[in-house]
Symmetry: C2
Subunit: 93 residues, 2 copies
């Protein structure tokens, strides 16, 4: 399931990088809604991004890849806030 999601992310990113169409960015926004529904935390989404970049792009400098470790760490804080939101919604039901 998550593997499929990761693959779809990679496919959409690749077609965006090839064609840079507005409607592909719109599709990305739609996809993020769906990822939220699937409770994918933002740090995991960033890890899909790194995996897709490694697969699809050549010559990504090591420093760029390293910088993602840092970004993922930052995202973990946001992921925690997001999970709190989920719990809050759950408690209200």
């Amino acid at each position: 399931m998550k593997e499929k999601l990761r693959q779809e992310y990679a496919e959409l990113l690749t077609s965006y990088l090839r064609e840079k169409r507005e409607d592909q960015l719109y599709a990305a926004q739609q996809m993020s809604k769906w990822m939220l529904e699937q409770k994918i935390p933002p740090e995991e989404m960033v890890s899909y991004h790194v995996a897709a970049m490694k697969e699809e792009l050549e010559n990504v400098p090591q420093a760029v890849l390293d910088s993602f470790d840092f970004l993922i760490e930052m995202m973990i804080g946001y992921g925690i806030a997001y999970r709190e939101h989920e719990n809050l919604l759950h408690r209200q039901k």
Copy 2:
């Protein structure tokens, strides 16, 4: 204010890329908490990341920079969920 935050993000990222120490990743997590308190949405944090990469790294391929437009678009969905969380907390007070 935001300019200062962007600058601190860039400084921390740069020192991490130079030294790759665990405690710098820990500092990143602490910084993300502070950013959350300042209500910086995740898409804005990713834009700080891009700005820092452009400033600090040489030869970042254009496709990598383009890929961030896509990642930011994905993050907007998460940003919306985060703002809903804020509103919910506010209503409960």
